[in-house]
């Protein structure tokens, strides 16, 4: 049963990265959109994202619940030593979720919209940045339960080049995902072109941020190169991601809107696979060389068992409904969408 739980945890993280990532990315794209096109972009985005926004961020909650029920020591350790970035991320989540809703449901359309938009855009950037920082910190080997002063215990655990670089890498990935997604939602050719341009921009940004991650890992003595290239799965996944990227750019020019989404999702899967495979089952690496592991630090057997059953039963209900939701809103909007109709 522990493996069922671990798979659910991994899949929840992946789906949050892909679906939530595209969602955050939409805000990042908005940041890089000229004022003239902003409101149109926003409308396309909202039609695409509105209906599933609420469901997207459930993946994060599922992941957290799995952590605290199944792996309480890991949850507690992260909560203590990564308190500050977690708090910042939460602020981002609050700001983003409410700004998104407020700007669509404010009955009066006036200057308040500008404020909502600002908040939405900045928090769309901050949240994945810190999400990435948290993920990076978990494996950076800077979490130090033996630390005796505030800075070592609560600041340097996450404030280092490597974690921050991962943060920016995550931001770029989100932007990339969103651009790819939006290409398929565009209403006309000029919009499509503009999203393709953004996808290219984000792709370049991701490559740059990715390189910085490697440089930072060398500087911080983190054996990232070995994790990624020191094993067959890592090499295979990186190659698959690279090939699919080339394929993706080829297919964009052919205007295949669904396949490119699948390919972008596939790339995220490969990236998450390379970064987690080598040190599975360890998910937190401590400063003293120790680690917290999904196997050794799992919670009580009965708890894992009932958690696994709850997840399995839950997914019987959730997956078909979610699929139907996504599917029905994939059918092109039928002219009038309720939100704008007043």
């Amino acid at each position: 049963m522990i493996y069922v739980v671990i798979i659910f945890l991994w899949v929840a993280l992946l789906l949050y990265l892909v679906m939530g990532g595209a969602d955050f990315g939409a805000g990042i794209i908005e940041m890089f959109t000229s004022n003239k096109n902003k409101s149109r972009t926003r409308k396309i985005m909202y039609n695409a994202i509105g209906p599933i926004w609420e469901a997207n961020h459930m993946w994060l909650i599922i992941a957290i619940v799995i952590l605290f029920v199944g792996f309480p020591v890991i949850y507690a350790t992260m909560s203590i030593y990564l308190h500050i970035p977690l708090t910042v991320m939460l602020m981002g989540i609050i700001a983003r979720g409410t700004a998104l809703t407020f700007r669509n449901y404010d009955a009066v359309h006036d200057n308040m919209q500008k404020i909502y938009n600002k908040i939405f855009v900045y928090s769309s950037f901050i949240t994945p940045l810190f999400l990435g920082i948290i993920a990076g910190s978990a494996v950076s080997g800077r979490v130090d339960p033996q630390a005796t002063n505030f800075m070592d215990a609560y600041m340097y655990s996450w404030l280092n080049w490597f974690s921050v670089a991962i943060g920016f890498f995550t931001v770029a990935l989100c932007g990339f995902l969103a651009a790819i997604y939006l290409i398929g939602e565009a209403n006309d050719d000029s919009e499509r072109k503009s999203f393709i341009r953004k996808a290219r921009l984000m792709n370049i940004a991701a490559v740059i941020a990715g390189s910085v991650v490697f440089i930072a890992s060398v500087k911080e003595n983190i054996p990232l190169v070995e994790w990624v290239f020191g094993n067959i799965i890592g090499i295979a996944a990186v190659s698959a991601a690279t090939i699919s990227l080339i394929l993706l750019w080829y297919l964009i020019s052919k205007g295949k809107r669904y396949i490119i989404r699948v390919l972008a999702g596939f790339q995220m899967t490969m990236i998450l696979l390379t970064t987690t495979y080598k040190h599975y089952p360890n998910i937190i690496i401590l400063k003293n060389g120790g680690h917290l592991s999904l196997i050794e630090d799992q919670g009580a057997e009965k708890a894992i068992q009932s958690l696994g059953i709850a997840l399995l039963v839950g997914s019987i209900f959730i997956l078909p409904a979610l699929f139907y939701l996504v599917w029905s809103f994939q059918q092109k909007p039928d002219g009038e969408s309720e939100v704008e109709s007043h």
């Binding site: 459930m58 507690a76 809703t101 939701l325």
Partner: protein, 441 residues
């Protein structure tokens, strides 16, 4: 601010904030389902407008409830890591089921809010009902988790180790039923009165009377029925508390001496140092009667509980008195409403009648906050009753005070924003819904 106090305050603030939004998110879908149903059956467009107007309000509340709930699931660890390290696997069952319930709720909400013109009308209606049912289910589940903190079961503590964990037994702990019942009824009462109050105000101001009067009636009937049931369910809760947490009961009642014919103490100012209550009304034997159904059996008082295991008496007592007083008030109003409905239809045009409901807008939520204060403060100094002390559970990270100030500022701003948006929704009712042609099919 000292770290421990800051952590407690931040927890209380976040929960106190979340509970308002979750109550509304839980109950409003039922109101909407009724008016939606009336529209589908009668074809009267006013009902459609009411449903739509409500659904916009609900979207705002839902999002705020969802983000504040997300924050809570992290905060449990951020503030109480030691508690979660041990309790997580034990009381995690309801949380994992709750995940499913939330998910279904979120999906159904997507269908409901965006599906007005896309689906079969009854399928669309049904998705709204699903939002309500899954919201209510998640509320019940999360309260079962809280009930476990009051009556921990489903594990054994041997040499400081939590073993023989049985998550199912922990979920169905002795307190879950009384608490979940009381909470669910409270959510209906509080939301019903709040929504009714807002619409009553608009009726009194003679704005869109047709629209607001119908909205008022739907919300009020839910609130009224719940308010009449609430004291009964409160009585069940009190009996449960007496059984499992005598210290909490004693603090609620400011009951200092254990003696036969224990009195029910109403009001008054507890004087903890001298172990008495000043200026209170005492009804001899009534407390014994309420707890044990006979006037004589003594009820355990604070004198039998070591000082270090006593909760703060004054806060618990005041909060309890406040809740009960408001509960009685709401029940009274409820009865009045039923009279109006059956016998005195003309009261609905009377200012005094509407005014009563306008004044009652916030009382349900004040009672909810007071009730949770009783439950949570009354459990002190324990975070898990009799098992783990709150002070031992708090995070070692210093400086939580700053975090508390930050959260206070954020929640304060958010509350203002929500009020502002709601005000604008209501202000726009005549403009959006008064045009003679229906908004859309």
């Amino acid at each position: 601010m000292d770290n421990f106090m800051a952590a407690r305050s931040q927890m209380a603030l976040s929960l106190g904030f979340h509970i308002i939004f979750s109550c509304i998110g839980m109950v409003m879908p039922f109101f909407m389902a009724v008016s939606h149903f009336l529209w589908l059956r009668t074809g009267n467009p006013v009902y459609q407008n009411v449903t739509k107007a409500w659904s916009k309000g609900v979207a705002i509340f839902f999002a705020t409830g969802a983000v504040s709930g997300t924050v809570l699931s992290f905060e449990l660890g951020l503030l109480w890591p030691t508690f979660m390290k041990h309790a997580g696997p034990i009381f995690g069952m309801p949380f994992s089921l709750e995940g499913t319930a939330f998910f279904i709720e979120a999906i159904a909400l997507g269908f409901f809010l965006y599906g007005w013109t896309r689906f079969n009308r009854w399928f669309h209606w049904f998705t709204g009902v699903v939002v309500g049912i899954s919201g209510l289910t998640s509320g019940i589940l999360v309260v079962a988790a809280n009930a476990w903190m009051n009556s921990p079961t489903g594990f054994e503590l041997i040499d400081g180790k939590y073993t023989n964990i049985d998550p199912i037994k922990a979920m169905f702990n002795p307190a879950w039923f009384s608490q979940a019942l009381h909470m669910s009824v409270a959510a209906f009462a509080a939301t019903g009165f709040a929504v009714a109050g807002v619409h009553a105000l608009m009726v009194m101001r003679k704005q869109n009377v047709n629209f607001h009067l119908r909205a008022f009636k739907i919300a009020a009937i839910f609130g009224v029925i719940a308010a009449i049931l609430q004291p009964l369910s409160g009585d069940i809760s009190a009996k449960m508390v007496a059984k499992r947490q005598p210290a909490k009961l004693a603090a609620m009642e400011a009951h200092f001496d254990t003696k036969p014919y224990s009195p029910l103490i109403i009001g008054g100012i507890p004087d903890v140092k001298n172990k008495k209550v000043n200026y209170a009304i005492e009804l001899p034997g009534m407390l014994s009667f309420m707890v044990y159904d006979d006037f004589k059996t003594p009820v355990k008082g604070l004198d039998q509980i070591p000082e270090r295991d006593q909760p703060p008496v004054a806060v618990t007592h005041y909060a309890f008195q406040l809740m009960v007083a408001l509960g009685m008030l709401m029940m009274g109003l409820g009865i009045l409403y039923l009279i109006a409905l059956w016998r005195k239809k003309n009261w609905f045009d009377k200012r005094w009648f509407l005014k009563l409901f306008i004044w009652a807008t916030p009382v349900g939520f004040i009672a909810v906050e007071a009730g949770w204060t009783v439950t949570e403060v009354g459990r002190q100094p324990w975070i898990i009753q009799g098992v783990m002390r709150t002070a031992d559970a708090v995070t070692p990270m210093p400086g939580i005070g700053y975090s508390f100030y930050l959260f206070t500022a954020v929640y304060f701003t958010l509350s203002l924003a929500v009020i502002f948006l709601l005000y604008r929704q209501i202000k726009m009712v005549p403009i959006i819904y008064d045009n003679p042609k229906p908004v859309s099919k």
